[in-house]
Amino acid sequence: MNVLARLHSWLKWMVKPRRLENEMDTEVRFHLESYAADLVRNGVSEQEAMRRARIEFGGVESHKDAMRASLGQRFWSELLVDLRYGGRMLRKNPGFAAIAVASLALGIGANTAIFTLAKAALLDTLSVPHPDQLRLLTWTQDHRSLVSSIWGDFYPDGNGRAVVASFSYPVYEQLRRNHALGDLFAFKEVIVGRGRLTATIDDQPTTVTGELVSGNYFAGFGVGTVLGRPIEPADDVVAGAPVAVISNAFWERSFGRSPAVIGKTIKLNLIPVTIVGVAPPGFTGASHVEVSPDVFLPMSTQPVIVPRETGSILADPEIWWVQVMGRLQPGISESAARASLALTLDQAVRATMTVPKDATLPSLSLSPGGRGWLSYEDRQLEQPSSILLVLAGLVLLLACANIANLLLARSAARQREMSVRIALGASKARIVRQMLTENLMLSMLGGIAGLALGYVGRDAIPRLLLSKWGSEPFASRFDWRVFAFTMVISAFSGLLFGVGPAWQATRAVVNAGLKDSAATATRRSKGFAGKTLVIVQVSLCMLLLVGAGLFVRTLANLASVDTGFRPKGILLFAISPPKQRYPAPKNTEVLHQIEEAIAALPGVKSVALSADPLIAQTASNDGFFPDNQPDGQPPKTGREQFVMSNSVGQNFFATMGIPVLYGRAFDFRDTPTSPKVAIINRALARKEFAGTNPVGKTFTTDEKDRYEIIGVSDDAKYADMRDDPPPTFYVLYLQQKDDREDMTFEVRTSGDPAGAVGAIRSAVQTVDKDLPLIDVRTQSEQIESSLAPERIFATLAAGFGALALILASIGVYGIMAQTVARRVNEIGVRMALGAPARQVLVMILRETSWLAVIGIGAGLGAALLLTRFLSSMLFGLKPTDPLTLTFAAVLLFVIAMLAGWGPARRASLIQPMQALRHE
């Protein structure tokens, strides 16, 4: 009916309980007195009138109760009573309350922390108004696609095609004329030199991350600035010096939140740029949800600040690189907008590019843009996050089982109280409600403690993910959703562990409950419920231990895997000579100068550089077409001839410690002007030259460059620790014409690599004072950071496993202690009849072992079923690794027996005479 009226009336009385009581009293008194007065008028005596009035009115108190119920107030007053009573019960049993709240806090805290992490990977949206309206324009690319030159990320769609979100700038300009998704805005995360721009702030060289944005970008997001102005449509055309808006975090980090930053000039890739505005906190740009680019630059600055091979690509229809976003408009359905934009895209492509007969045109689709353009790495977080959520959920389940067990034991002890309540007329529903209120109180206490734990630990996990040298602060947002999640799982666990005991409480039999020896009546079933719970706990614990074992062994396997090179004592850093100052081939020359300057330093054993550092999730590939195939075989062509390649310095093999097996390594004979030479690794030699000596043979690459093979090196891991060394060839960077944005230096030092950084930095600055060392780290740190996901998994899974062990052993201890307490009498009889203490000990331990064995068996079964979902994350072992399973089973069994030892020992120490007198 009228919900508002009810709510209004409920609230009105809720806040003024005293006034309600007064009004009820006044009203009832008025009624009684009026009626009595009427009776007196009819000739009844005054005393008799009041008496009859009261009788005919009925029980004042019960009517008042019904009046309160009419106003919806009774539920709340009863709740208050229940809460007060529950609080008293908790205070009376501080030990119980402490154990329950602590185990819940651990379980809920673990879940809160994991959820905070998973939220970033699964749920978080850009913090802009109405992120749900945002749509990102994407298209699918197949092998006959017209578009062949893409600068940016793409990911496989599962049907052998790729989903791409890049468009050429001319196409974007034509798309903008279509307003089906409002005024389309464009952006491009700038990826140069390890993803950063070289910046000079107050004469200090450093690096920043950047995003190129269209003039309507801030307006399109509906985001302003906290200081100065945003990038505006007028910035779409170059006029005077380039401008930039900086992120709030960068403002804080580099300018100490000084308002004087507006109008300040910094150098980006050596070009002076004026800061005109500061973005609001929380705004992270369009590409990521957690991290903001440091600077937002107008698209029109691309030719000067991030020039490509041809300088400006703003007019280039061939290279597809900008991401385009729009907002759903009222009155235009998503499918209509898509259809309309698809038509415009078709026209735009035909207008800007020549379309060969059999080429496919990009077919447009719209993806939700509220979470930004999810890069491939961001997407890869989804599965691990889900697995962690499951593991944390299992820990919580274990904690709940523990509390349920404690409550079961307690409800047995409270059977008399329940019997009294029922005897006094309490309904079953009322008793269940009271028990549930108590349990929810408990779980909410646990939830609050867990929330606090999760809040304290919220940055711990993201920090594990960060590389030591990464400059990006990762702020996991602790928002209302985390709070809601925690409260929901708290309430849920309260119900989970509370329903069973609450239901059992109502089964209290009044007659039996009030008698002393009543417990005998329901003993069997109660013991059964408790034991089942403990078995469930043991099996959950088994599952978590197996998971922990698998992840720990994966990490150990990865960390001990043979890389094929000697990582110890190598310092890594990247140098990115800006194109404006070092157009090819000057970039190669300056890199060579730096190489020689560093080699001359004392304490430096050798220096190498490579286009791709090792074990850094980066690799290049190229075509490999051997010349003069034996036996007149036709020359090889096609995609299967793609192999890995790396462009390296002369001393690469000596510096990295990769042995050259046949032929020779690069040396002084190989110069920019000498014939091009290459070294191939054993895997490539085996693949292409099985049984013959490759040294002296020649091959050509995609770019039709011909190389002579001068040596064969041993295999070494390339992009990561997981994959086997791929077939790879190495060429000399001095002989390359292509202009890589950056090269990574590998410096082998005689002492501590970190100690040499200062000397190396000044050596680099003697060559060019504007060149910063980017991402300074040791090769060992690089390897360690490449294992960060595995390390997090191993750490968290091991932590969860340990937590599970503790909880399960509390469970086993509890149930066995209870069993022994209940059997004191029986054990006393046994001992009086001559059973030795040892036999009693064995008897109780045997019961424990049954619990453990059944639980471990069930857990093993579950593990065999479930662990295969982890197989893609494991390394060097199967998901059913027998060693891990055995170890987990044995560990769990031993811990369970230890937990059962205490009660068993106590049983064996029972004095028969005391035990028999006990009841």
Partner: protein
């Protein structure tokens, strides 16, 4: 006087709405009005009137207001709200349809079947 009739479930609410629709009344007044218009043939336990009043007020069908009674005492007077008037109307319609239906069924003679 005939034997008083027990109240049918749910009819007390309707009676209260009807009584109040004739003008503002306090609780005791409502009791008297119901007895008066029913010719004292309805048996209502006096106290059970109040939970019903509170329920109706809670639902916004009647509105209570403190005022002065005929004998200059403080008393709570109940008024019918607009929502209450609509409710009374629809309840009355429903009741009439129901009564006609039942009456029709009970009037049925063997010949009509």
């Amino acid at each position: 006087m005939a034997k008083p009739v027990d109240l049918l479930q749910g009819t007390l609410d309707m009676l209260i709405l009807k009584a109040v629709s004739l003008g503002p009344l306090h609780g005791y007044g409502i009791l008297l009005r119901i007895q008066q218009i029913s010719g004292k043939r309805l048996e209502i336990q006096q106290g059970s009137l109040y939970p019903a009043l509170y329920r109706l007020e809670h639902q916004g069908l009647i509105a209570g207001e403190w005022g002065e009674s005929d004998n200059k005492r403080k008393a709570k007077f109940y008024n019918l709200t607009a929502a209450g008037r609509r409710q009374l109307h629809s309840e009355t319609e429903k009741w009439k349809r129901m009564a006609d239906l039942i009456a029709g069924i009970l009037r049925t003679t063997p010949e009509e079947i």
